[in-house]
Symmetry: C2
Amino acid sequence: MKEHQSGCPIAHGLDTFGDRWSLLIIRDMMLHGKKTFNELQKLEEGIAPNILANRINKMVKDGIIEKSANPQDKRVNILTLTPKGLDLAPIIIEMIYWSGKYNPPSTPARKQMFKKIARSRQDVLREILNRFD
Amino acid sequence: MKEHQSGCPIAHGLDTFGDRWSLLIIRDMMLHGKKTFNELQKLEEGIAPNILANRINKMVKDGIIEKSANPQDKRVNILTLTPKGLDLAPIIIEMIYWSGKYNPPSTPARKQMFKKIARSRQDVLREILNRFD
């Protein structure tokens, strides 16, 4: 994908994670605890394996995701969000809030998440980051 | 562009403004006070007129931007961010912060914006919204 390269921080963000898939992969790692290629392939939105591989590799290159061999099974890579990747949490939280405000959440879990964010973004952020301590 | 339609609020956000251009158009309206097609055509990243028209129309349809005739010149449309569009400010602020943290801001104005956000997101948000009162 062609990059904007204007030096604008918003353009930089779009260049890094502003495609149709990267934030959904990050969502599944951050909120649903997924950490392998196979787990991520079950993305609710249905992602093609080559696109998934491509986006993971780009995010590894950009320092958002780290790949390491699984000590239990060397053929499987473990994918972890780096501190830079975890720092995307506030953006994801604000997106969930904005969508929930204008598009009523469609499941009880999503409704609860929206209410929690409305109550305290800081608490939600802490709760997410605690899972990765 | 094909939409995800999973009901996930992050996917909904990506469906609405997650292309390569929409947030840059919103940035120029929100932070640089642009309000006509001609002003937006001078987007720093160089946007083609047909893509600009297409994105503006999608955002009008999605209730993010409003079009109205300029009382001084009926041939020119005035573009305004709706409350739903202005509510994207926290997402934009978090993107600026994240990019600035991992990619040192490249101009004095960007450096200052990053520092202001680091000091108080609330103040930056208020300052942005005050311009649209």
